[in-house]
């Protein structure tokens, strides 16, 4: 116990005695740990954002979206879903209670909203009347759209509570007009607040009747919509899914060998598929980090070997004073360990800072969050690297013959 404590003390002393060299040595470790912590914090942020997006979707909902296979993407052909596809689904498939188109407006000019001198950006979404039931959102004040609003393409909207706050619209906001792009839009409903999830607002959006949204975006363009629907019987989810596939394949005139140009996903699958992408990112970065930790370890081994040679005489003295092989082994092993763990600590701090910086630069991104397992894992990895790459120099030091070591010039 005593000698372990002594070894840590002397490790700190010799690391401090060679401050700059120690910094360079642990740079590999620092970079490795920095990147793992930064990547993990960003991926965690993304994953929370995505999961929050789908949080309102019930377990019996299905989402149909266009999907362009990679080969087609290369040829510049983009798959689309349109109104006819939705009509076909609702006409030909039973067991469906609610169905709604969803049209996300392109970001940019169309997302700009203003009221008097206040200007903001928001997500503008065109929806059918069933959107409320499918997504489980309800107006807190005012009303939702009527069929009339939709068919007459009236410029009315239901907004999330944050839009009222951001534009500083006086309450009650029902009946007020604000600018949406170039058009005046009347607030008829305010949707109940869902709150924030890790700093990501769930209440910053403008809902328009589907018809109105199409008008604003211009009917001439061939728009790509998503279709959401609720299945009556949860147990028939898979069956409905495959029937939707059949209908859409026929609608899109796909031949037997051709891949689907759309995806039918349950709420679970939606989050899963995003999480799968995130997991891939994490895995790839873990690989890169592994390599950089390996390089860092080799750097530590190299410097420790140099250090053993430099301190040959010191080792001889310690042996003459009664240090055993284990004492010497422990001292140099702990020095390598300390070097790599200091690198790990610095890396965690910088990585956390980087993650926080990225989070603050991206609007709507949750504040940096590094799970404890990532910290412990990288710390453990550093310790392992220190021990694995420290053992060879330490063994070399402990095997020195006392007389040869004392004679060393």
């Amino acid at each position: 116990m005593n000698t372990i404590f002594e070894s840590f003390r002397s490790a700190f002393e010799s690391i401090r005695a060679h401050g700059f060299r120690s910094l360079l040595t642990s740079l590999g470790i620092i970079i490795g740990v920095t990147s793992v912590i930064a990547v993990v914090s960003i991926v965690q942020g993304l994953s929370y954002t995505i999961n929050a997006q789908f949080a309102g979707l019930g377990g019996n909902s299905l989402t149909v979206r266009s999907h362009t296979p990679f080969k087609q993407q290369l040829r510049g052909k983009l798959a689309k879903l349109n109104d006819n596809d939705m009509q076909a689904i609702s006409r030909q498939i039973d067991g469906i209670s609610h169905i709604t188109p969803i049209l996300f407006t392109q970001t940019g000019r169309q997302g700009a909203i203003s009221y008097r001198s206040q200007t903001a950006f928001s997500r503008v979404i065109g929806i059918g009347p069933s959107y409320l039931q499918v997504n489980g959102v309800y107006p807190q004040e005012g009303r939702f759209f009527t069929r009339d609003d939709n068919s007459r393409r009236r410029l009315v909207c239901a907004v999330g509570a944050d839009v009222i706050d951001n534009l500083e619209i006086p309450k009650p906001a029902i009946g007020e007009f604000f600018m949406l792009g170039d058009e005046w839009c009347k607030i008829v409903g305010v949707i109940e607040r869902r709150g924030e999830i890790l700093g990501f607002s769930q209440d910053d959006y403008v809902l328009l009747p589907y018809g109105t949204a199409r008008r604003i975006m211009g009917t001439t363009r061939d728009l790509d919509i998503q279709i959401q629907l609720l299945v009556d019987d949860m147990n028939r989810l898979e069956e409905v899914k495959s029937r939707i596939r059949r209908v859409l394949r026929k609608e899109h005139k796909l031949k037997a060998g051709q891949a689907d140009d759309f995806r039918v996903q349950t709420a679970e699958q939606l989050t899963e598929s995003f999480n799968a992408v995130l997991n891939t990112i994490t895995a790839v970065s873990a690989g890169i980090v592994g390599i950089s930790l390996l390089v860092g370890g080799i750097g530590i081994m190299n410097i420790m070997l140099v250090s053993v040679t430099e301190r040959t005489r010191e080792i001889g003295i310690l042996k003459a004073l009664g240090a055993t092989r284990q004492d010497i082994l422990l001292q140099f092993l702990i020095e390598a360990l300390t070097l790599s763990m200091i690198g790990g600590l610095v890396g965690i701090a910088i990585g956390y800072g980087l993650g926080a910086l990225v989070a603050s630069l991206l609007p709507g991104f949750p504040s940096a969050f590094v799970p404890l397992w990532a910290i412990f894992l990288s710390f453990g990895f550093c310790a392992a690297v220190g021990i694995i790459f420290g053992i060879l120099p330490a063994a070399k030091a402990s095997q020195l013959d006392p007389i040869d070591a004392l004679r060393y010039e």
């Binding site: 005593n2 010799s14 005695a17 042996k319 003459a320 004073l321 009664g322 092989r325 284990q326 007389i403």
Partner: protein, 239 residues
Amino acid sequence: MSPSATNQAVIRLHDVYRTYEMGGQVLNALDGVSLTIKRNEYVAIVGSSGSGKSTLMNILGCLDRATKGRYLLNGTDVGDMNEGELAKARNRQIGFVFQSFNLLGRASALKNVMQPLVYRGIPLAERKRIASEALEHVGLGDRMDHLPNQLSGGQRQRVAISRALVGRPAILLADEPTGNLDSKTSQEIMGLIDQLHNDGQTIIMVTHEADIAKHCERIIRLEDGKVASDERQTKAGHI
């Protein structure tokens, strides 16, 4: 302690050889050395350069092993000891002083003297207390925080002596302790070593100089790895 115990042999060498082989040539640095050294003896080992004095000291200090022959340290056969036991013997039985001081360059005088106690598992506060007493004993109570390169040669050797003795070893081995010092400082160091002898310390010392050897009570002369003469002398000024 019984009267016979005070006369007990601390060191007993029997027909010890230390052989180096270099390029097919065999060199006996020690060529059949036998000797006995008792408690509280004050021994000088003299001889021309290359006669095997340092080789003998290294074997006595358990830093090196005899190629052949028996070495009993306080009655225990060193030949039977493993690495760990040798380290323990160096730590507890032997105090070594070198010509070139061999202090730990990055450690203060106090830390240098504390170091042997680390390997005995003595707690920090206790180590500090014992080491500062040892430094005060050699007259360096006011230099404890100095690094070796902030000390004079004589002061460095005092630190080294106090480090060698801090663990109360059975034997103090000194290989030319005054070899790097001027004659005045040498006499000061010899005064300190005489003092230790008077306090009961067993001392074996290698030296080239007749002046220095004069301080000792017994002079062993080596020639070509053999004991050429072994004489006792009465020392001026001491009983």
